[in-house]
Amino acid sequence: MALAERVQSRREGSPWTGLWAVVAKEMADHLTSARMRILEFLILLTAGGTVYVAMQQIRSAGISEQFVYLRLFTLAQDPLPALVGFLVFLVPLIAIALGFDAVNGEFNRKTLSRILSQPIYRDALLMGKFLAGLFTLALVFTAIWLLIFGMGMIGLGVAPGSEDVGRLLWFLLATVFYGGIWLALAQMFSVVFRQPATAALASIAVWLFFTVFWEILAGLLAQALHPIQFGLAQEILGQAQLQMTLERFSPNTLYAESMVALLNPTVRSLGLVLPSQLQGAILGTPLPLSQSLLLIWPHLTGLIAVTILIFALSYVLFQRQEIRA
């Protein structure tokens, strides 16, 4: 952010002048756009379907444990994956859809020079668009969460426990942060590429890379950097640990692990578990929420840090850009 600071310290006036005007306009755009209707329909269908199936299973199996609401998110029945399985795809998709034409769209409509000739800084436009996307994500997923709670209350006939609600709220937060990364990425590509289609494609390429290839690559990298020469347990362990560290560079891994820790209270540790670490632990007893949160704290901060990093990069790129058509 050195460049950003230098630019700002030389300039008079708040960089956030006009920010909320931008946020309001962009959110109104998002919420009324046809694109959003399609996505809302898609996610409603997914949530409705998976939660319904999960509910059937809960009823037929007669599950009546403490964390039954968490099960609504995680229970799958072939061939339908659980809701959480869908979220890993849907969240990036929606986030990318909200951001890929943020800046180049203004440019192509020839509105950019008009907007930037108003008494605002470019900061306000970029940040406003990001926040509007993030708030829209939050709004949509909050609505879905509420819908699921509603379905649960009607279908299961029990109210969610406070632990359920707490865990699901944190999961909601993690989901929005996870979306934030893809939103920031799509927005960055919308600064870099003049064509919205190119920006969308680039964002999807990055997402595919982390979804499909990163795990394989992390495995290969770990093998190359930490080869097993003598077959010692230490070596095997070291390699596995390296692979996991590498995998955690993927936002998908960070999100998936947060999801596991939050929705499965019995998970006591993420990643490799050594027998020595389990000594004294009573397997199967759920962790309190605060302990689970401690487990994923690095993950959440990681998600936010990456978002900020990508946003800062797009900020620098945008500052340098010529705005003329």
């Binding site: 020839k110 008494p119 605002i120």
Partner: protein
């Protein structure tokens, strides 16, 4: 008269290419200043630097006493800008588009509404205020652009190629609108590559070529400086004789006389000599069939001047 825009040795380079080269421009309060030159001359670059939308490579700018590179918000809240390509959000109505701009300018509530209505009225678009901008013609968009600029009640309006893409009638109407803004005391800086179209409304013009502006002044001043004449009197007579040509050349103030097609002659002059020309024709015994004075044509001045510059450079 106060100088509202002043640039000193303003320069913009893109790599090795100099788009604007040591520009010294002064625009005075209340005037219409025309920045004229062919495509690629550096007009848009100059305008963007004046608004603080592009960083100058070197040199200084003062707009209403503020520095647009350091105080862009102040400058942009007092200076309206109509870009060369005016785009709106097509799916929103005219009013909604203006509303957004009003909010970006910190205008809210009743104050904003009054200004919105006044601006739409000024440009004659109140009837279509609730129509989506997607249905607007190029001319209507241009006027909506002016309405948007008027929202902030600017002291200066900068227009980049405002008549481009308008049909002759539309361009004429638009220039009338510009004239009426000037009468309200707003200083106007406009750029154009169509010299003849805007010369009529410009108090002063600056001729721009390849990033340099070497000629500034009223059209008459430039004509005198470049062509050696400010007026051209065209006369039609029954017959052109060598004596008549000699007589006309001898009229005080006449610079040159040359025949045109038909029985017409052009008398180039440094001053207003219509009366003297008429007298000379009648006294020489010829019949005067017609006489009129041609306004100066910037295109001619421009072509002439830059031909000279190029010759000089060689």
């Amino acid at each position: 008269m106060r100088d509202v825009i002043v640039t000193r040795d303003l320069t913009k380079r893109y790599g090795n290419f100099t788009a604007v080269d040591n520009l010294n421009l002064t625009v005075r309060q209340g005037e219409v200043f025309g920045l004229l030159g062919p495509n690629g001359a550096g007009k848009t670059t100059t305008i963007l630097m004046i608004l603080g939308l592009t960083e100058p490579t070197s040199g200084q700018i003062e707009v209403l006493g503020y520095d647009p590179t350091r105080q862009p918000l102040t400058v942009k809240s007092r200076v309206g800008y109509l870009p060369d390509q005016v785009g709106f959000y097509d799916e929103l109505t005219a009013l909604e588009n203006l509303h957004y701009i009003a909010r970006l300018n910190g205008l809210n509530g009743k104050n904003a509404d009054t200004r919105l209505q006044a601006a739409l009225e000024k440009v004659g678009l109140q009837a279509v205020a609730h129509k989506r901008v997607g249905t607007f013609s190029r001319g209507m968009r241009q006027r909506l652009g002016v309405a948007e600029v008027l929202l902030k009640q600017p002291e200066i309006i900068i227009m980049d190629e405002p008549t481009q893409g308008l049909d002759p009638e539309g361009a004429r109407e638009f220039l009338q609108l510009v004239q009426s803004l000037k009468e309200e005391g707003i200083t106007i800086l406009l750029s154009s590559h169509l010299l003849h179209q805007v010369q009529a409304i410009c108090d002063r013009v600056g001729l721009f070529n390849r990033g340099r502006m070497e000629l500034v002044g009223t059209v008459d001043e430039l004509a005198r400086k470049v062509l050696g004449r400010a007026y051209r009197v065209i006369v039609e007579v029954d017959e052109i004789t060598p004596e008549l040509t000699e007589t006309l050349k001898a009229v005080p103030g006449a610079v040159d006389v040359h025949p045109l097609e038909g029985n017409r002659l052009a008398v180039e002059a440094a001053g207003e000599i219509r009366h003297e020309v008429a007298q000379a024709i009648v006294q020489s015994g010829r019949r005067l069939l017609g006489l009129y004075m041609e306004a100066q044509n910037l295109d001619e001045i421009y072509a002439h001047y830059f031909k000279e510059v190029e010759h000089g450079a060689r």
